[in-house]
Symmetry: C2
Amino acid sequence: MTLAETAYDALRRDIVRGVLAPGKPLRMAQLSERYGMGFSPLREALNRLQAERLVTSIALRGFSVAPLSMAEMWDTINTRVLIEQRALRLSIELGDDDWEAGIVSALHGLMLQSARAVEANADEQKLLEDRHRGFHLALIAGCGSSWLLEFFQRLYVEAERYRYPMLQQRNVEHHRDIQAEHAALSQATLARDADLACDLLAEHYLRTARFIEAQMAAAPQAQTA
Amino acid sequence: MTLAETAYDALRRDIVRGVLAPGKPLRMAQLSERYGMGFSPLREALNRLQAERLVTSIALRGFSVAPLSMAEMWDTINTRVLIEQRALRLSIELGDDDWEAGIVSALHGLMLQSARAVEANADEQKLLEDRHRGFHLALIAGCGSSWLLEFFQRLYVEAERYRYPMLQQRNVEHHRDIQAEHAALSQATLARDADLACDLLAEHYLRTARFIEAQMAAAPQAQTA
DNA sequence: GCAAGTCATATTTTCGAAAATAATGAAATT
DNA sequence: AATTTCATTATTTTCGAAAATATGACTTGC
């Protein structure tokens, strides 16, 4: 892997996890020391991240971590529902045996990890997050549209920034609820019931959004610092 | 404007217009001479373009112009219809006086330019293209969603790559048809008839796509070279 | 004849310094 | 006291060369 790719991954992770707080200016000298490399690979990573809206920049005044806001969170969730409902319908219509197998496998992996993650360390957290994305990706992987899949990835990362504080929670009941939703969603999808699956998907995301909004209202400084 | 921004604009224009053919490898030394600058600003531009899918890259093997295909054109058009129909419905629901004024103004400018562009030089072509994007943007500018607006921009640029050969045509009848569609679309939107406006929008894009497909079948080497 | 290894060349990637620009603060002016 | 000017410092942006890696031709052994 090149240094630029290393920088991209590291910056992305640190931004999503809030280690680099929203709005924080990213100075080249500082980043160079933090990640142990010269300016070139860092600029390269920052430019990619800017195109993905995780970073903002003004010419000759440098980069900073993109800010967060409740309005943007709702926009992200609503757009996500639009994109994923369409992709899910297409997958249900077009999906083949491999697509079905992918869902079963992803759900299985997610359940295993989810059971373990309540008492988790950082590595297990990351694995759970990967499996979670893997599951939602598996649902729509049969849609046949590279644009829908790309927009899914973009919106997933953005949503992850808002979801991160929630992931830190070790609430057993909450984990169990989410697992049940995943199972129901997977079941409706495999039964090729598009209307039901789309409803469950929307409800799944809206529930999360409402939860985050409530949490944010209680402790707004956590993320929008 | 920084050199990196200059490079970004120039590369983008040359890719969209097919001056740099799809699939063509982009060698740093070559680009450096062509655009009269060092590697740094070029890499910066290429990274942004890669994130926007106008350019592909493989680590240590450099960049190349992203390829075109009929399958991808249809994916682009279909996704565009999804995004813009949603954005149009939201605009019709939420749009204020400024939004309405923007549509009237954009349509007016487009008509003026369109009448002139049949006998056009390169500058008028570019102005027409800007006005065309301006009009479609004006229709959905009231939607209140930065994600929908960003995806609109992304898909517009991609579609422009396919549409470019068509733009070269000096067919008066064809221009008149397109103008009529724009007028009808604008009218339905301002009348707040969401269902009709969405139908007209979809038909507008599908007609273009079918036209391009027919043209491509007749002379496939023009773009997919 | 053909695969695997080896060297020379072409190309990308990275660094470190120089150039260009912005931010800061002190002195001068109104 | 407030504003402007100007130098100083901090920071980004760009360049040119060095390092790292890929490519392709050529040889060698089978």
